[in-house]
C-alpha cells in the first residue's frame, strides 16, 4: 500500500432542513486501499457518498481528488472526473444485454460515436468471465449479485481508479457476498481504490484495510483494521448512550394476540409463530429474507397460498388491509414516503387517515373531533410542529414517524406491526420511538418490530424471530438474544434444532 492520498475529504458540512446530516467531516483515502466508511443508518454515510458523487451539493468544505479540488456539479461530471459508484439501487437498463450496458456506460455520448455492443474492455471481460456472466444475457435475467458485478465491470472498463460501493451486500446472499469480496481482492491487486460503505461490521472486518466511522453526521475517527477490535468500532458507531437508548423490558402476559400457522405466500414459506399481548416481538433478517412480505400478507396486502392466521383465538381470512384494520391490526410500513405518508396533505389528515370512521358522524367528518384527537397525539408523542394544519412534508423524519404511529394508535390496535420503525431518523427521535413502542406494549398491545438493525433488535425485543430465505431460522428467547446467535440465525446457520421452533410456535 502506497501512502499517496487519492481522495481527501475536507471539512464537509451538509444540512437538510432541520437536521445536520454532516458536521465538519474530514478524512483521507489512500491510493489502493479498501477503505470502509461505517456508521448506523442515518449517520451520514449516504449523504457523504452523494456529496462525493455530486448528487447533492455540499454546504461547505471541499473534496480533493488526486491533488485537485473536485468541482463536479452533476453526477455525470463526477463520473467523468473518475469517481465511480455502485449504488444500493442498481442503475442498469433491464432490457439491454450486459455488454450493451457496459459499453453504453463507458462510451461518453459527447463523442457522438455509435456504441459498439460487442466491444468490451479486457479487464471487464475477464471479470465477467470468472463469474460466468455471458455478455449477451439481458440484465433482467440476472440476479442482484450478478448485476452488481456488471456494474463493477462497467466501472473497470471506464478505467476507473476509485470505486465506491454503497451498502453493496444489502440484498446479496452469502455466496454472492463471497463472490463480491473475491472481486474486491482482485480490484485491490490492480491498484483500484475501493471505498466500502456499510454498517455491517463482520463484512467490513473481512475486507477493509482501514475503517472510518461516522456517527450522527460527525467524523469519529479512522483506524487500521489489523489492530482494532470490533467492539471499538461498535462503540464509535453507537456512542456511549446506548444504555438508556432502550427502555427496560417488562415481558409479556401469556395472552395470545395473533397466531400464525404454517403460513406460505409470495416470498415466505411455512412460517409459524405466536404473538403475545404486551410483548415486542423482533423480526430480524437480511433484506429480502421475507419479513416485510410475510407481514404485508398477514395485513391483507399480499398473497397467502397456505396456512392459517388466528386472531384472538379465531381463524380469520384477512383479505385486504381494510379487514385487517377492523381486526385491530395496524401496520407502519418501512418506506415512509412511498406507502406511509400522504405528503401533500396536512398533519390532521395524515393522523386520522386510518380512523376516518371513528372521527366522523354517520355521514360527515367531524372536524373538531379530528382536530382534538390530533392535538392529543401531538402532545402525547411530543411531535414538534408549527401547526397541525401544516403539510406533513414540513416535518422531520422522526416527527413524521411519530405522526404515523399516532395514526395507528387512533384505531386502538391490538396488534401493531412496525417495519423498520427508525429508518432514516436521528438518534434522539429513535430513542423516543423506542420508548413509545415499549409504552404501547405495556398498554397490552402486541408489537411486532421488523428491523435490520442489530442493536435495535437486541435492545428492544422480548423475543426475536429470525428469518432467512423466507423461512423462520430461529426463535431466540432469554439469554439466546445475543449478537452471536442473532448474526448466525440471520444468515441461516442453525444453532438450534428446528424442533425448538415448532415448540415455541405452540
Amino acid at each position: 500500500m502506497t501512502q499517496d492520498i487519492i481522495l481527501s475529504i475536507r471539512n464537509i458540512c451538509k444540512r437538510f432542513g432541520g437536521t445536520q446530516a454532516l458536521k465538519d467531516v474530514s478524512f483521507d483515502i489512500l491510493k489502493g486501499e479498501v477503505h470502509a466508511v461505517m456508521g448506523e443508518n442515518g449517520a451520514g454515510k449516504s449523504t457523504l457518498v452523494k456529496i462525493i458523487s455530486a448528487v447533492v451539493a455540499k454546504d461547505t468544505g471541499s473534496i480533493i481528488l488526486n491533488g485537485e479540488e473536485l468541482t463536479a456539479k452533476t453526477p455525470q461530471e463526477s463520473r467523468a472526473a473518475g469517481i465511480n459508484i455502485v449504488y444500493q439501487e442498481l442503475s442498469l437498463s433491464p432490457f439491454l444485454t450486459v455488454g450493451e450496458n457496459i459499453s453504453a456506460s463507458s462510451s461518453p455520448m459527447a463523442n457522438f460515436k455509435l456504441m459498439n455492443p460487442t466491444y468490451l474492455d479486457e479487464e471487464a471481460e475477464h471479470l465477467l468471465n470468472i463469474n460466468n456472466i455471458d455478455p449477451k444475457t439481458e440484465i433482467r435475467e440476472l440476479g442482484v449479485g450478478s448485476q452488481q458485478i456488471v456494474e463493477i465491470a462497467g466501472a473497470l472498463s471506464r478505467k476507473c481508479r476509485l470505486l465506491i460501493l454503497d451498502e453493496p451486500t444489502s440484498s446479496l446472499t452469502t455466496k454472492e457476498t463471497d463472490d463480491l469480496f473475491r472481486i474486491i481482492e482482485i480490484l485491490k491487486k490492480r491498484d483500484v481504490t475501493v471505498i466500502y460503505i456499510s454498517h455491517k461490521i463482520n463484512e467490513v472486518f473481512r475486507i477493509a484495510d482501514r475503517i472510518s466511522v461516522l456517527k450522527d453526521g460527525e467524523y469519529m475517527g479512522t483506524v487500521e483494521r489489523a489492530d482494532t477490535k470490533q467492539d471499538t468500532i461498535i462503540n464509535l458507531m453507537v456512542g456511549r448512550d446506548i444504555k438508556d437508548m432502550y427502555p427496560t423490558k417488562t415481558g409479556a402476559e401469556a395472552k395470545c394476540a395473533l397466531e400464525v400457522r404454517n403460513l406460505s405466500g409470495d416470498g415466505f414459506q411455512d412460517v409459524s409463530f405466536t404473538l403475545y399481548r404486551g410483548e415486542i416481538l423482533g423480526f430480524a433478517g437480511l433484506a429480502g429474507a421475507g419479513r416485510t412480505e410475510l407481514f404485508t400478507a398477514i395485513f391483507g396486502a399480499g398473497r397467502i397460498t397456505a396456512g392459517k392466521v388466528i386472531v384472538d383465538g379465531k381463524e380469520e381470512k384477512i383479505r385486504n388491509p381494510r379487514e385487517a384494520v377492523r381486526f385491530g391490526i395496524g401496520y407502519l410500513p418501512e418506506d415512509r414516503k412511498e406507502t406511509g405518508l400522504f405528503l401533500e396533505m396536512n398533519i390532521i389528515e395524515n393522523t386520522v387517515a386510518a380512523s376516518i370512521d371513528a372521527n366522523s358522524g354517520r355521514l360527515f367528518l367531524n372536524r373538531s373531533r379530528a382536530k382534538k384527537n390530533t392535538l392529543d397525539m401531538v402532545e402525547r408523542m411530543r411531535i414538534k410542529l408549527g401547526t397541525i394544519q401544516d403539510r406533513i412534508y414540513n416535518l422531520s423524519g422522526g416527527n413524521q414517524q411519530k405522526v404515523l404511529l399516532s395514526r395507528w394508535l387512533l384505531v386502538n390496535p391490538k396488534v401493531l406491526i412496525v417495519d423498520e420503525p427508525t429508518r432514516g431518523i436521528d438518534v434522539g427521535a429513535k430513542q423516543e420511538v423506542y420508548h413509545i413502542l415499549r409504552e404501547l406494549a405495556n398498554n397490552d398491545i402486541a408489537v411486532v418490530m421488523i428491523s435490520s438493525e442489530v442493536p435495535e433488535i437486541l435492545g428492544m425485543s422480548d423475543r426475536i424471530i429470525t428469518m432467512y430465505h423466507g423461512k423462520v431460522s430461529a426463535v431466540l428467547e432469554g439469554d439466546e438474544r445475543n449478537e452471536n446467535f442473532l448474526a448466525q440465525s440471520i444468515v441461516g446457520v442453525h444453532h438450534k434444532a428446528p424442533g425448538h421452533i415448532e415448540e415455541s410456535a405452540q
Partner: protein, 331 residues
C-alpha cells in the same frame, strides 16, 4: 378586567375575520370568481344583449348539462384517473336512446337503455383500469374509439331524430323563471359540493389520489373506489347525453368530439390537478362558467371563434403555472 375581556373579544373577532379573508383569498375559487364577475361586468357593458334574459338563460341551460359530466371528471381527477371516452360515450348514450325510441316508441325503454349504455362504458373503463391495471389513458382511449364507432354503427352514420314530445318539452321547460336543467344542476351541484367537501366517504377519494398505496395500507378499498368513480362518471355521461339529445331533438353520432379534454381543462382551471387529490365541485363549476363566458365574450366582442383554443390553452397553462407557484410558496 371586564374591559380587557371586551377588548380581547374584539381582537379575537377581528383576527377571525382576518383569518377568514385570508382563507378565502388563498383559494383558487375566489380568484376565478373575481375573474368571472369582472368578465360579466365587462360583457354587459360591451353589449347590453349579454345580460338579456333570453341570451343568458339559453347559455345557462346549455352549459348546466355539462356540469353533470364535469362532476364525474372531477371525481376521477381527484382519485388520479381520467376518462377520455366521455365525449363519445355521451354520443353513444344519445344514439342508443334515440334509436330505441325511434324503433319502439317507448320513451321509458329508451331512457333506461341510454342510462345503461353510459354506465356500461364507465364500468368497463373502471374494470380495465382497476382490475386489469391498464393505464387510464390507454383504457379510456380504447373505449373512446369503440364508443364512437358503435355510435356510427347504431345510427348508420346519420343523425337520429327524437320524436317524443314529452321529453323535449320537459327538458326545455322553465320553472320559477329558470330552465329546469339549470335548477336540477344547481341542486345536484350543491349536494355534491357538500358531500365531497365534508363526507367521510368522499374524503377517501382524496387519500386515494394523493397516495394510492398509502391509502390502501390504511384500510381504504382504493380499487373499489376507483371502479365506483369510473361508473359514476359513466352515469353522469348518460345523464348529460340524454339531456342534450332531448334538448337538441336528435342524436348525432359525431357529437361531443373532444369534449372530455375541455372538461379536464375546466376542472384544472378550477383547481384540480392530474396529480390527484385536489379539486372541489365549486372550483370545477366556476371553471366551467369562466370558459363558457370566454366563448360568449368572443362572439360579443367579435373575435373569430378560431381564437378560442388559443385563449383556452393560455388560461389552462396559466392556471397550471399558478399552481406550481402556490406549491413552491407552501414549500
Amino acid at each position: 378586567m371586564g374591559a380587557n375581556l371586551v377588548v380581547e373579544r374584539k381582537r379575537d373577532w377581528l383576527s377571525m375575520l382576518n383569518n377568514l379573508f385570508r382563507k378565502i383569498f388563498q383559494r383558487r375559487e375566489s380568484f376565478i370568481f373575481i375573474l368571472i364577475i369582472a368578465m360579466m361586468i365587462f360583457l354587459s357593458y360591451k353589449s347590453p344583449a349579454f345580460l338579456s334574459y333570453k341570451n343568458f338563460m339559453a347559455l345557462v341551460s346549455n352549459e348546466a348539462i355539462k356540469g353533470f359530466v364535469l362532476t364525474g371528471v372531477l371525481l376521477l381527477l381527484i382519485t388520479r384517473d381520467f376518462d377520455l371516452s366521455i365525449g363519445s360515450g355521451m354520443a353513444l348514450v344519445g344514439v342508443v336512446m334515440a334509436q330505441i325510441i325511434h324503433q319502439t316508441g317507448n320513451l321509458g325503454l329508451g331512457l333506461l337503455c341510454g342510462l345503461l349504455a353510459g354506465l356500461v362504458v364507465g364500468f368497463i373503463n373502471g374494470v380495465l383500469v382497476t382490475k386489469l391495471k391498464l393505464a387510464s389513458f390507454i383504457a379510456t382511449l380504447g373505449s373512446m374509439y369503440m364508443a364512437r364507432s358503435l355510435c356510427n354503427i347504431i345510427s348508420v352514420g346519420k343523425g337520429v331524430p327524437v320524436e317524443n314530445q314529452a321529453i323535449i318539452t320537459f327538458l326545455n321547460s322553465y320553472f320559477l323563471g329558470f330552465p329546469v336543467a339549470f335548477l336540477v344542476m344547481l341542486f345536484f351541484g350543491i349536494i355534491m359540493s357538500v358531500l365531497l367537501g365534508r363526507s367521510k366517504h368522499f374524503r377517501r377519494l382524496y387519500y386515494t389520489g394523493v397516495n394510492e398505496k398509502g391509502a390502501m395500507m390504511v384500510g381504504i378499498s382504493t380499487s373499489k373506489l376507483r371502479l365506483l368513480m369510473f361508473s359514476f362518471s359513466g352515469l353522469m355521461m348518460a345523464v348529460a347525453g340524454i339531456a342534450y339529445t332531448g334538448m337538441l331533438r336528435s342524436a348525432v353520432p359525431t357529437a361531443f368530439t373532444g369534449l372530455e379534454m375541455k372538461l379536464i381543462a375546466m376542472a384544472v382551471i378550477g383547481g384540480s390537478s392530474l396529480k390527484g387529490g385536489q379539486g372541489s365541485v365549486l372550483g370545477a363549476l366556476l371553471g366551467l362558467i369562466l370558459v363558457t363566458l370566454i366563448g360568449n365574450a368572443m362572439t360579443i366582442i367579435g373575435i373569430s371563434p378560431q381564437w378560442e383554443g388559443a385563449i383556452l390553452g393560455t388560461i389552462l397553462i396559466a392556471a397550471a403555472i399558478l399552481d406550481i407557484f402556490v406549491q413552491k410558496k407552501v414549500e
